[in-house]
Structure formats: C-alpha cells, structure tokens
C-alpha cells in the first residue's frame, strides 16, 4: 500500500505543476477550460487545498461569469459552456462559488444548445451538463428528455469505448438516484472485468466505477472489486512512470517530446480513486469491512456506519481516543439495533445515559448466542469504551497499537452481530 501513497503524492504534484504552469497564461486556460474544470471537480471533491487550487478556484469564478453571465463565447462554445457548468457545480458543492448565476437565464442559455436529445450533439458534454445541473433539474424543462437520451445510450458499446463517459454517466445516475440504471451500468463494467475484456489503459476508469459503487454489488463480488482496484492503481503507476521503449520506435517516430503530459481526466480520476482507496487502507486487513458497510446501508442503519467511518478517519488523523469513541458508538448502535430486530420491539434507552449492557447481553443469550461469545462482545465494548475516556487514563491517549487492536475487535464483533439478523 505504501507505493499507492507515494503515487497519490506524485499525482497531486503533477496536477499542481500542471495548474501552475498555466498561471498567467490566459490563452492556455481558454484553450482547455474543460481540463481545468475536471481538475477542479476532483480536487474540491477531495477537499484538497493548495495555492494552485486557490488560483484555479479564482479562475473558475471569473470563467463562470464570463461564460454563463456575460456569454462571451468563442467557437469553442461547447467546451466553454460545459466547463463553466462543471466548474459551477464544483464550486457550489464546496461553498466557494462567488458569482451569482440566475437559474432562469441559465436555463435559457443551455436551451440554445440542445440538438435532438443532447447538448452539442455530444454524449460526454450532455452527461456532464446534466450532472452539473442535477440539483436545478426541476427548473429545467428539457432535463428529463435529455436524460432519457443518455439512458438510451447507456448500454451501447460506444459508451464503453470512451471510458471517461463511464465516470460521468455513473456520477449522473447516482446524483439522480437512478438506481436500476446505475446497477446495470456497474454490472456491465463488472462483467467486462470478469471476462478480462478491459484494456490496460482503461482499467483505472472501470475500477473507479466499481469501487465507488461497490455497495450495490453482490457481497461475493467485493473481494474481486477490491483486488481489481488495487491492481489497476498499481498498474497505473506504469503509465506515470518511465516506459521502456523499443529503440527503433524512437528512430522512426522520434522521442516523445512531451513525456510528462497526461490526460487530465486520467490524472483526476486516478487521484480521486487513490485517495478513496488509500483512505480505506486500514479496512483492508479486516476481511469483511465491505460487508459491514453494505449490510448497514441495506438495513438503513446509516448512523452506525457514520460512526465507524468517523472512527477510521480519526485513526487516520491520529485522534486515537476519538477513534475509540466512534468505535464505541458504532458498536452500541449496532448492538441495540440487532437486539431490537431479534426481539421485535425497541430497547429502552435514556438520552444521555448508556444503555443497559446487561439487558443487551440477556437478549443475545435468549437468542442462543454462546456465553463466551457474549463475553467477547461485552469485553470489546469495555475495551473501546475504556480507551475513549482518556480522563479515566489520566489524560493519556491510547497508543496506535491499542487502537489498531480495538478496530479489529470492534469490526469483527459488529460483523458477527450483523450476521445474526
């Protein structure tokens, strides 16, 4: 995993350099506004901050004003409008939008670029525009018609031919909550992976779709998705590294005069996936973490997952007692919910007071759990609770080693409890 951490840093640095190289070069910015918006989308989505990102945010704000408000287009109006809208979405999502854009005028603007069932007669742009405006869709009369156009193309081979469309299409389907279409798309990606029908250069895009949508896949598919994602990311290192070349290639076609140039979509997608995948690195030694996430989601016990997720975040950040507190909360929520489900009635709780553990133990006993197993559940609860209360430890935070053990215990216990219902 450490190599993926290194790669994450390397790609951040490539993106930073790429953005900085265009500082002050207005023309270049104008030539590739969509590339800039794609960078911005992935960077803000991951809350990445840097001087380069600040500069990109400033530029995007003025770009939105120029394109969406002032309508100063060149002949590249398709790229300009699409990039401004994606930038608009990205900035709005993180509260960095400083430009007022009138929705009615915006609808009027985009209406001018509708041809048949798409914007600019381009699938990629249509997907991106619809995704960017998904929150305003009730005010866009042609939204549903254009979305239907996208849906009709979802299962055509051409969609898979231009892999960046897989990312945008899955983002749109998720944003619009079109779960059936999303499942079909993700399943189609998975089938291609299973058949080894994914080209080397396309793997990271497929991995992105599968990784981010792993929750809607079958439990038995998850190990394969995790392995495929890991392999895809490790192999992508070869794309960003130095390639060994047949000397005669250089003799015939010349040296690659721009060896450091990579598609912005590839950089953005890879970074996004690396960040998500690397952040889950402590999950991976716990075999069924993905099962837990999926099961909690299907049961609707999202508050429990939120606590567990925060626990892992706390561990990542070195906040060890916070991590234990979130583990404790996650465990108790699951324990209570499992007992309620087993008994078919609510477990009495009082606000501000810890639930009666004896009552929970009794429930498990009633439903046939062996005494020693119940003891393990109880002791795990005590273990993480003790380490959450640093005041009882003289203000001493638990060590990383202790907390790592606590994570393993808590997740194993939660998995066991979940399998009872």
């Amino acid at each position: 995993m450490s190599s993926l951490r290194v790669m994450e840093e390397k790609i951040r640095s490539i993106i930073d350099k790429d953005i900085q190289s265009s500082f002050g070069l207005e023309i270049e910015r104008r030539e590739d506004p969509l590339g800039n918006s794609i960078f911005l989308f992935f960077l803000t989505r991951n809350k990445i901050e840097s001087r380069a990102v600040d500069a990109l945010i400033d530029w995007t704000n003025s770009w939105i004003d120029i394109i969406l408000n002032q309508r100063k287009f060149s002949r590249f109006v398709d790229k300009e409008v699409t990039s401004a809208l994606l930038g608009f979405y990205a900035l709005k999502s993180v509260g960095r939008l400083r430009i007022e854009v009138d929705t009615d005028k915006l609808v009027g603007l985009i209406s001018e670029f509708v041809t048949d069932d798409s914007f600019f007669d381009n699938f990629t742009y249509t997907t991106l525009i619809l995704f960017s405006l998904v929150k305003q869709r009730s005010k866009i009369p042609m939204f549903n018609r254009l979305f239907e156009g996208i849906r009709r193309n979802l299962h055509k081979e051409a969609l898979f031919n231009d892999v960046k469309n897989l990312i945008f299409a899955s983002l749109l389907l998720e944003a619009i909550n079109a779960q059936d279409d999303l499942k079909r798309l993700v399943r189609a990606c998975f089938e291609k992976v299973e058949k080894n029908a994914v080209r080397f250069d396309d793997r990271v895009y497929y991995a992105w779709v599968l990784w981010y949508n792993r929750r809607i896949m079958e439990e038995r598919d998850l190990p394969k998705i995790i392995n495929f994602t890991k392999d895809a990311l490790e192999n992508t290192a070869r794309i960003f590294g130095t390639e060994e070349l047949d000397e005669s290639v250089i003799e015939m076609y010349g040296y690659d005069t721009e060896p450091e140039k990579f598609p912005k979509m590839l950089l953005g997608t890879t970074l996004d996936l690396l960040i998500s995948f690397n952040a889950s690195r402590i999950m991976l030694p716990v075999p069924n973490i993905v099962y837990i996430e999926q099961k909690l989601s299907s049961l609707g016990w999202t508050e429990a997952w939120r606590e567990l997720d925060k626990a892992l975040e706390g561990f990542e950040d070195g906040r060890m007692s916070d991590c234990c507190n979130n583990l404790r909360m996650g465990l108790i929520i699951v324990w209570i919910k499992v007992c309620e489900k087993l008994e078919g009635k609510p477990i009495p709780t009082q606000v501000g007071k810890t639930v009666d553990i004896g009552r929970l133990n009794k429930c498990l006993e009633t439903h046939g759990l062996p005494e020693d197993t119940i003891g393990m559940v109880s002791r795990t609860w005590s273990y993480v609770s003790d380490r959450a209360h640093i005041e009882k430890r003289g203000g001493q935070a638990p060590s990383e080693l202790e907390v790592r053990y606590g994570i393993q215990l808590a997740f194993a216990t939660i998995e066991h409890l979940l399998r009872l219902v």
Partner: protein
C-alpha cells in the same frame, strides 16, 4: 552578385488533438498522441472488414488482422488502444489468380453479395505493381469497389516485408476509411472557415472511355478550420475541355451547401489550395461563383508546388538541413518552405529537404491572411495525412488527397466515375477518405 533573401520560422510545432471531448488530449506527434490518448473520435468500437485475397495469402492476412487487434511492440495495445476499436472480419472472398480479370470478377462478386452498410472497409491483397500503370489489380479493384460504395485498403507483399512499420499506417488508414477521425489540429487555423483542396480538369481514362473527345472531371476535398477532412465532392459527369466555369460552379455549390448543413454557419473566409498555378480564368470564375453563393466573403488562392530548382541549407544545424517550419521569402506573396528538415519531432530524416513553393496568387477582395499565417497553415496541414503516423510528411493534406484522386481519375472509366459520384454511393463515400 550575391542575393539576400529574408527568412522566417514557425516557432512551435502545431499541436494535434486526440479526443473530441477532452481538450487536454493534445500532442505535437501523431505516434505519441495516439499511443497516449487514442483517436479523436472514440465512437467506433468495431470496424467490419471484408477480405479479398488469393487463397494462399488468406491466412497471412488474417494473422495480420489478429496482430493489429492484439498489438505489437511498435503498437502496444493494438487497434483497441490506438484507435479505440477492434477489426472484425465479416466477409472473406478468395481470388483464384493474381490476374487483373480475376480481381475484377471477384470484386464484382463481392459487391453483388454484400451490402456497403454492413462492411466498413474491404482489405484487398494485391500483387505489387507500378502506380503509373492503369490496368492493375490495385486500380481496378479500387474503382469497382468505390463505384459501389465500398472503401478499400490495399495490401501487397511489401506490406509484409516491412510489417513492423506497416501496422500503424495500415491501422490508421483503415480506421479513417471506416469513417473514424484519428486526429485533428488542436487550434483553428487563423482566418480560415473553410479550406478547399481543389482539382479541376483532370483527364478521365481514355482506355475506359467511349467516344473520341477528351473528357475531364473536377473534384474538391473540403477541410474545416481544424484541418479536419470533412468530405469529398466530384463533378457529377465529365466535361469537355474549356468548361472550367461549369465544373467550378458545380463543385463549389455542392461543397458550400454541404459545409453549411454540417457546420450550421455560412463560411466567410475561404482558402483554396491548388497544386497547379492559378490562371486568371480560374480565379475570375471562382470569385464570380462565390459572389453568387456567399455574397460576403474573402477568398485566398494559394498554389503549392515543388517544381523549382531551389535547395536551401542551414550551416547552423547539425545535419545542414533547412529546418522544418523555416521559410525564405521569394517575394511579398511567395515563400520557399521546409517541411522535412531538421526537427525535434523526428529522429530520422531522408536527404535534402525538397521545399514547398507557396504562392498566394490573389486574395479577394483584400488581403485577409498574412504570409506567416499561411506558412503555419501549410505546416499544420502536413500533419493531417491519416494514412501515416510518420512524423515528417512533406506536403499538406490538401495536396496529398488531391493527388491521390488524380491518380484514380486517370484510370477510372466515365461510367465508374459517375457511379462513385451518384447520390446513393456519395452518401457513404463522401465522408470517408476512400482514396488515400
């Protein structure tokens, strides 16, 4: 007495774009661009091939297709990586002998049993012959297949002798002939809306023509401001000598009509490349026709040829060649430009560069394109021959494509030409560079 010429140079190699919806997919070199980004148009996932080949070579041809799909050390990832598509063989038709008549019979049998909407390109294995002979399997197969709406790609023994370097050129030509767009210029050419590579008064083959008087045809290749080849238009029937106005009117009317329908705007800045010298009758005719067709327009008449005795060297360059993109002014409206001299985009060069003599014969109603912009335009257009990934191409694609068709018109019959131009065939072929 020494004569001094002023010179100039194009500072930066023009960039190419390799993805129509990702403006960051740019590279100045075709090979590295395709290898990194794939093709400009990523909408074609499968190219359906027909094969016409001697039975003894059929396996060799199929092996070649298999290797194109799987990739080679020079083309890692093969067609799927470089062109986002697979080659799928849908029809095989063995030829009994390498005689011209066998190929003619087999091509006719092929077109009668197939449907052009189900075959994208026909791969024809032919014996190597000189392109200056007309009655060869190459020209007869090409003409018959084109007259029925099929794009074809010829392969010969020499393709296999030099297979390592043939793969990519072959793949690119097949992909383009199937209707794919492999790459275009990253930036628009300055002050150009429409670019025409025109050829008029091309003699139709006498051998295949009935009657006694010489007959001529004209055609035009239309490119947009990114140098993207858009379509081909030819005169519907042959003309007698001296009917230039009619030929031009027919060609230009068709070209502008189609351009406007596709681009949704009427072009204003028109640049016409011609590989001959522009005559007064020709320029006057074009202006008169554009007056009728466009009303408000600028037109530039450019002739480009290499039939001159000049050679230029640069002693500051390691190999002494006049570097690519450098040019010398022969006058206010004429330059000698090097397109194959020293450059960082290619390692291998062949001999002393044969310079292009570019003359801006006339700009009407006034000058709207500077000689320096014209030089950049022509250098850019040398990068758009979809039949090759070689970094150094001497001529702009406007001339290359015209020349390819000129070879064909010299050998096709009037009847075949009429078939190629007829609406139902034109609808398929006019958007595919079937002649490259």
């Amino acid at each position: 007495m020494p004569t001094f010429l002023l010179g100039n140079r194009i500072e930066r190699e023009p960039n190419l774009l390799f993805d129509k919806s990702d403006s960051s997919a740019v590279h100045p070199q075709v090979y590295w661009g395709l290898r990194t980004y794939g093709p400009y148009d990523k909408g074609i996932s499968s190219v359906r091939l027909g094969i016409i080949s001697p039975q003894s070579r059929m396996d060799q041809v199929k092996k070649l297709i298999d290797e194109l799909n799987k990739g080679t050390p020079i083309m890692p990832g093969g067609m799927p990586k470089f062109f986002g598509s697979n080659l799928d063989v849908v029809v095989e038709m063995p030829v009994n002998s390498t005689e011209v008549s066998s190929y003619e019979d087999k091509c006719w049998a092929f077109v009668k049993s197939s449907d052009p909407s189900e075959v994208d390109v026909v791969l024809v294995y032919i014996p190597k012959t000189s392109r200056y002979f007309s009655n060869t399997p190459y020209y007869r197969s090409k003409a018959i297949l084109a007259s029925e709406g099929y794009s074809s790609q010829m392969i010969t023994d020499s393709t296999f002798l030099n297979l390592k370097w043939s793969y990519l050129n072959l793949a690119s030509a097949i992909y383009a002939k199937a209707g794919g767009i492999p790459w275009v210029l990253e930036s628009e050419m300055k002050n150009v809306d429409i670019l025409l590579g025109i050829s008029i008064s091309n003699l139709v083959s006498e051998k295949y023509r009935a009657g006694v008087s010489a007959r001529y045809v004209g055609y035009v290749n239309v490119f947009d401001s990114y140098g993207k080849w858009m379509f081909f238009e030819g005169t519907a029937k042959s003309y007698e000598e001296g009917k230039i106005f009619e030929q031009l009117k027919e060609l230009l009317s068709k070209a502008f009509q189609k351009f406007e329908a596709e681009k949704r705007f009427r072009p204003k800045n028109v640049v016409i490349h011609y590989y001959k010298r522009w005559g007064k009758e020709e320029t006057d005719s074009v202006i008169k026709i554009l007056d009728e067709l466009l009303g408000d327009f600028n037109v530039g008449f450019i002739s480009i040829d290499d039939s001159h005795p000049f050679r230029v060297y640069d002693t500051n360059v390691a190999d002494g060649s006049f570097p690519r993109g450098h040019y010398a002014y022969l006058g206010e409206n004429a330059i000698l430009m090097s397109t194959t001299g020293f450059t960082t985009i290619a390692a291998k060069r062949m001999g002393t560069p044969k310079l292009l003599h570019v003359v801006s014969r006339m700009q009407h109603p006034s000058k709207f394109i500077e000689m320096e912009d014209l030089a950049l335009q022509i250098l850019s257009l040398t990068k758009l021959d979809w039949a090759t990934a070689t970094p150094l191409v001497r001529e702009p694609v406007t001339l290359l494509f015209s020349r390819e068709i000129a070879y064909l018109t010299a050998v096709v019959s009037e009847q075949e030409w009429k078939s190629i131009i007829r609406p139902e065939v034109n609808a398929i072929l006019s958007r595919r560079p079937w002649f490259i």
